[in-house]
């Protein structure tokens, strides 16, 4: 088992896999250093920075190989800042623990990608193609409360439908024929301004989904399906996408407080005390997911309430510094 694994990890695809992992790890640290050094708050800049650890590992290894074929030589290895093979070759009692650990991590990450991302995306795509929600939904213009909220928006909205449902529901489908769906209970719960802000947020998702860059980044991320760092950074970029859409919505409505209020009403209901016995029975994973979701919503509300200074220079300077440092350091990371 060890010999074929060793041969694979020393082959071109194997070197790509291991170096992509370490390159994204370094890029992730560089990104974090930049975020702290410049105290970056703008979600658009933050998102660009989070994308570096996803894009860089895909292109750097072939690029370095192309520009310097001597990069894998013995002499280059001796001068490297970090050489992953050193760790992979460490042997204790006939076992290579680092190699085994790394393979295990890659395997688990691949399964997470398969079950948490790829299968849900495919299922969602298939279901949305044969979805009949639109057939049973009313157009926004037919619902006076929604019409009142929508008419003040300064953009031509995509298709917006109101679905008969008692729950709090608002989402958008993206792509060429993107649409916004909201449940009939929402106009009863939210004020006109809050409803306008919530719909504007979903419209922002539809507008941004037409941006080919994000699709391209997802394709690159899919190439790194085994890479836990790419998985983590992609999720952070997705969380930042929500904030980018919040800001886009605010630019349409000019009302930060209304969107914060809508988020609070929709996603942060007052928690009822849970009896001890019932709490023990709940699944930990579910609790963690709920807690993480709550933190994310609270972070969005906090950002909407505090706002941030627009940073025209930092918009290109910080991502450029992160890319330059990532390339320079990773050149010496094998």
């Amino acid at each position: 088992m060890t010999v074929p694994l060793t041969s694979f990890l020393h082959s071109y695809p194997g070197l790509f896999v291991t170096q992509a992992f370490f390159h994204s790890l370094v890029a992730s640290f560089v990104s974090e250093i930049a975020l702290r050094a410049w105290a970056v708050k703008d979600p658009a800049i933050r998102q660009k920075i989070f994308l570096v650890p996803i894009v860089a590992p895909v292109v750097l290894f072939p690029l370095f190989r192309l520009t310097n074929p001597d990069r894998g030589s013995t002499y280059f290895r001796l001068e490297a800042v970090f050489e992953s093979e050193r760790w992979l070759d460490v042997e204790i009692g006939g076992v290579r623990p680092v190699m085994a650990g790394l393979v295990l991590v890659f395997g688990i990450t691949s399964l997470v990608f398969l079950f948490q991302e790829l299968i849900p995306i495919v299922r969602n795509y298939v279901e949305s193609r044969r979805s009949e929600i639109a057939a049973h939904a009313r157009d926004w213009a037919e619902v006076p409360t929604v019409r009142a909220a929508m008419e003040a928006l300064p953009v031509d909205p995509p298709r917006v439908f109101v679905v008969e449902d008692g729950g709090f529901l608002i989402f958008s489908t993206t792509g060429r024929s993107g649409a916004v769906y909201l449940s009939s209970a929402l106009p009863e719960t939210l004020s006109t301004e809050e409803l306008r802000s919530a719909v504007a947020h979903e419209i922002a998702h539809v507008i941004r989904s037409r941006h080919p860059l994000l699709v391209a980044v997802y394709m690159l991320r899919a190439l790194l399906f085994f890479n836990p760092i790419a998985l983590m950074e992609f999720r952070r970029a997705v969380q930042e996408e929500e904030k980018v859409c919040d800001e886009l919505a605010v630019s349409l409505t000019g009302d930060r407080g209304a969107l914060a209020g809508a988020l609070r009403k929709l996603y942060l209901p007052t928690e009822e005390p849970v009896p001890d016995g019932a709490r023990k029975g709940r699944k930990t994973a579910e609790e963690i997911e709920e807690h993480s979701h709550r933190l994310n919503i609270e972070s969005r509300i906090s950002m909407l309430e505090s706002g941030y200074e627009p940073d025209a220079v930092g918009k290109w300077l910080v991502p450029a510094a992160v890319v330059a440092a990532t390339v320079a350091i990773n050149y010496l990371v094998l």
Binding site: V30, A37, D70, S73, Y75, L78, F82, R86
Partner: protein, 178 residues
């Protein structure tokens, strides 16, 4: 603007810490495991550390080269490999590496680096004291004459590579086989 400059300073300090951490992580396996690729200061030290007994060494050297090697690089894992570098010695010499002898159990092992035949002019089979050797003559990256000879000696592939004539390279190789 002042914040930006301070940001740059903090970023530079952060990167310096990251590089130091990477270098430390790169050094740690060498402490834990003795047979990983590294430079050695002494031939005997390398032999005893790695336990490689079957190494060939030359008794003949072209002019300007002499024993001991100016550099020794070796590893025991993932396969045994030893590189002996010889720089030009004597007053007024540049001390550049002009002769390299490498021995490894892997057939495709090549150390790379600045001493290499970048353009092959001739490649032929050569009988070297009963061994089937391959003699290669060409030029290096700077257009200088280079030659190498390579053969299998039990489980090791031995290669002698020099910025010199093929005759000198053959003489060095022959001196390794007594």
């Amino acid at each position: 603007m002042r914040n930006k400059a301070l940001g740059f300073l903090a970023f530079a300090v952060g990167l310096a810490v990251l590089v130091i951490a990477l270098k430390t992580l790169n050094w740690l396996p060498l402490v834990a495991q003795k047979d990983l690729l590294r430079r050695y200061g002494d031939f005997e030290e390398m032999r005893s550390e790695l336990g490689i007994r079957q190494l060939l060494v030359p008794s003949y050297f072209p002019e300007d080269f002499r024993w001991p090697p100016t550099g020794i690089i070796a590893q025991g894992k993932p396969y045994p490999a030893v590189i002996l570098e010889f720089g030009r010695s004597g007053e007024g010499k540049t001390r550049e590496i002009g002769l390299v002898i490498f021995q490894a159990t892997a057939d495709d092992f090549s150390p790379g680096g600045t001493l290499e035949i970048s353009r092959t002019l001739e490649k032929m089979a050569y009988p070297l004291k009963g061994r089937d050797a391959v003699l290669e003559v060409g030029t290096g990256p700077g257009g200088e004459s280079c030659a190498s000879i390579s053969w299998r000696e039990k489980e090791f592939r031995v290669t002698v590579l020099a910025r010199s004539t093929p005759f000198e390279v053959i003489k060095v190789a022959e001196s390794m086989l007594r």
